[in-house]
């Protein structure tokens, strides 16, 4: 989705979500479960501390040397027989994927879970050109059947409960009786998708880590759909953001220990695929051609700011959203774009522009629950403050796309006034005394008080300020 989506109306969408008790309950239950599982995984504080410090620096190291590592990755992939493509925009990436599929005469595509292809809206693009994409991750399959977007980057259909899924399967899958039995629902999906795997002309997947040293694409998953998508069809296209590169294989173990434990509380995912080439002569299976599409879509611009660059450390574990008190209440769809939750409010405005998604950095109390659990130590709240700053007072005209777009004369004047008051002991004394005398006369309908008092009583100004009381009690004497 491009900037033409205009203002995202985060608040309007949040309003709808907040008033949907079923959605609220689905998210609350799911997030509670995920938080509890993660806590068990990182019970050893010392282990967590050293592991995440390592993980953070592995990612920071890769970003510091990103251009060189991308060139090395490309060279090693080419040596291994993997064809490499570069795309500056999602449109370019879509065109590259479509071109590869058309050249191969592919009509149906089986897809493993990939957030980057969601970012590209690849499915819609392929459908428009007569190619049928079938999502094979169970959660992605469910939302594809429902015609929805993922609401969580690890658990795409987390907003749905099993009754809703039972209804959906009964509606959309031929001869499927209504059942809320999860084993039966899972078996129904297996049956429906087996044929799709066997008949697919190509498989498309994402990438968790791309190892420059060996030209290896690491892909983690639990279901086996990632393995199938990258093994059974004759053609495999892997799509990834340019930031996913790692220098060497030795960098994989710490991140692999952080990612599933942070995401779903598993010590490791069931499958960790390491793909380094297409089928070689004499090998009996595997795709005959493998392509890697490297997508920029604004990431190189993020990389250009040494502070905001930390955004790109993200390994997409979703721990930040699982622990976010705002995400838990409004759900993933409120964020409109592909990446919801804390990492979404940080990444989306940088990709789409502050003029387009500038309200997202403000949808946070800066409670730091996200920063506390981020396995690669992204200082999300501090970077949100940085974006808030860029929106009103750009540090340079093009530090962030859409910088300065939220500056209003009224707000600026308000803060100037605030500074005048709080920056001068004399004015502050006069001001607080006036508030003590007259503040409580303010009606609840006054700006700001109106929102506050919608669910709370009016705060009461004390008749005497602490300054006055401290002086009276002799605390002001040196």
């Amino acid at each position: 989705m491009a900037a033409d989506a205009g203002k995202l109306e985060f608040g309007a969408k949040a309003h709808v979500a907040l008033n949907d008790p079923k959605l609220r309950a689905n998210f609350r239950r799911a997030m509670d479960g995920l938080m509890a599982k993660r806590t068990i995984q990182f019970a050893d504080e010392a282990e967590w501390t050293s592991l995440r410090a390592r993980g953070a620096m592995v990612r920071a190291n890769a970003l510091a040397r990103l251009p060189e590592l991308l060139e090395q990755l490309e060279a090693n992939c080419l040596k291994n027989g993997i064809q490499v493509h570069w795309a500056e925009t999602t449109q370019e990436a879509n065109a590259i994927v479509l071109g590869i599929l058309e050249a191969a005469g592919a009509k149906t595509v089986i897809k493993g879970k990939s957030m980057v292809t969601e970012e590209m809206h690849l499915n819609a693009h392929l459908e428009k050109h007569g190619i049928t994409p079938v999502e094979s991750d169970l959660g992605e399959y469910i939302i594809q059947l429902a015609g929805e977007a993922p609401s969580h980057i690890v658990m795409p259909c987390i907003h749905k409960n099993k009754a809703e899924i039972a209804e959906l399967f009964h509606d959309k899958i031929a001869d499927q009786p209504y059942t809320e039995n999860v084993d039966e629902l899972t078996a129904a999906a297996r049956k429906a998708l087996r044929g799709a795997f066997a008949g697919a002309d190509a498989g498309i997947s994402g990438v968790n880590f791309a190892v420059a040293e060996t030209g290896t694409l690491v892909l983690i998953e639990n279901e086996g759909n990632g393995r199938l998508s990258t093994t059974l069809p004759p053609l495999h296209i892997a799509v990834t953001g340019i930031e996913k590169v790692l220098e060497k294989l030795d960098d994989v173990p710490p991140l692999l220990s952080l990612l599933p434990r942070s995401a779903t509380g598993q010590p490791i995912t069931t499958y960790v695929n390491m793909i380094s080439s297409p089928r070689k002569d004499g090998e009996k299976d595997g795709p005959k051609a493998v392509h890697l599409v490297l997508l920029d879509n604004g990431r190189s611009r993020v990389h250009g700011d040494s502070e905001l660059r930390d955004t790109l450390r993200c390994i997409r574990c979703a721990a930040c959203m699982n622990h976010c008190p705002v995400y838990t209440r409004v759900g993933g769809h409120t964020y409109t774009f592909t990446y919801p939750g804390p990492i979404g409010k940080l990444l989306t405005p940088q990709i789409e522009g502050l003029d387009c998604a500038g309200d997202q950095p403000h949808a946070s109390t800066l409670c730091r629950a996200c920063a506390d659990v981020c396995p690669v130590q992204i200082p999300i709240p501090d970077l949100l403050v940085r974006l808030r700053t860029e929106a009103v007072r750009p540090t340079s005209p093009d530090a962030v796309k859409g910088a300065g777009s939220s500056a209003t004369t009224g707000e600026t004047l308000g803060w100037k006034g605030w500074t005048l008051l709080y920056g001068s002991p004399l004015l502050y004394r006069i001001g607080t005394r006036m508030l003590g005398w007259f503040g409580n006369l303010m009606p609840s309908s006054a700006p700001m008080l109106k929102q506050w008092t919608s669910v709370r009583t009016k705060p009461k100004f004390a008749p005497k300020s602490l300054h006055e009381l401290a002086r009276e009690k002799g605390f002001c004497d040196e």
Binding site: R54, A87, E88, R190, E223, R301
Partner: protein, 218 residues
């Protein structure tokens, strides 16, 4: 500056440069030999796999009885591997039907996708920390035999167990060359996409049977 590649790289190269930060020390867990095996088994079992301790000579017979209990009719195997030959010899007098994965996938797709009951592969190693098998498919032992049949049987030697993935990468010299595909397997296929309720066998095997070959001679 004409290609997207050049434009992306030139933007990245124009970014502020700083020395790449050092990686702070991090020590993956280590175990004594007895702990290693116990941890490997416990982690795999926690992931819903069945682990059987077997001997180098006796595993085919043991497997036969395990599969008989499950009513398995056939097993996809790799006839050109040592394990495959041992299995064929041992089961010559009876046992589940052996389906040889000896042709390209394109000639065997129907069998693999919808007829096979089980598949037997070896594992190049095992990782104690996470209860993971290291599968390293080859021309003789292709990728899909561990993935398409509803039951995957993996043979792993106790002597190949390591404490951690980091150790495996180092002792097996992975940086020197990776195969077409390597995969870590830590249990049967599973999902929790529906209300975080675990369900097995969503796309890959429903069952994982690990035959752990003891390092001491019987």
């Amino acid at each position: 500056m004409n290609s997207p590649r050049e434009r992306i790289l030139s933007r990245l190269k124009a970014s502020p440069r700083a020395a790449a930060p050092l990686r702070p020390d991090w020590i993956p867990p280590s175990y004594s030999p007895a702990e290693r095996k116990a941890k490997f088994k416990a982690m795999l079992e926690a992931s819903h796999a069945d682990v059987h301790e077997v001997t180098a000579a006796g595993w085919p017979e043991r497997l036969k009885s395990i599969l008989a209990d499950k009513g398995v009719g056939n097993v996809v195997y790799a006839p050109a591997t040592r394990a495959g030959r041992q299995l064929a010899e041992a089961w010559a007098g009876g046992g589940p039907e052996l389906l040889a994965y000896d042709r390209p996938l394109e000639e065997l797709k129907e069998v693999l996708v919808s007829q096979a009951d089980a598949g037997l592969t070896t594992a190049r190693g095992g990782i104690a920390q996470t209860g993971s098998l290291v599968l390293w498919p080859t021309s003789d032992e292709p990728r899909l035999m561990s993935l398409l049949p509803p039951i995957h049987i993996a043979l792993v030697e106790e002597s190949s167990l390591t404490d951690s993935l980091a150790e495996t990468i180092r002792v097996q010299g992975w940086a020197g060359g990776m195969p077409t595909n390597a995969v870590l397997v830590s249990g049967p296929s599973k999902t929790a996409d529906i209300e975080q309720t675990l369900a097995y066998g969503v796309h890959g095997p429903k069952e994982l049977i690990v035959l752990l070959i003891g390092s001491e001679s019987p």
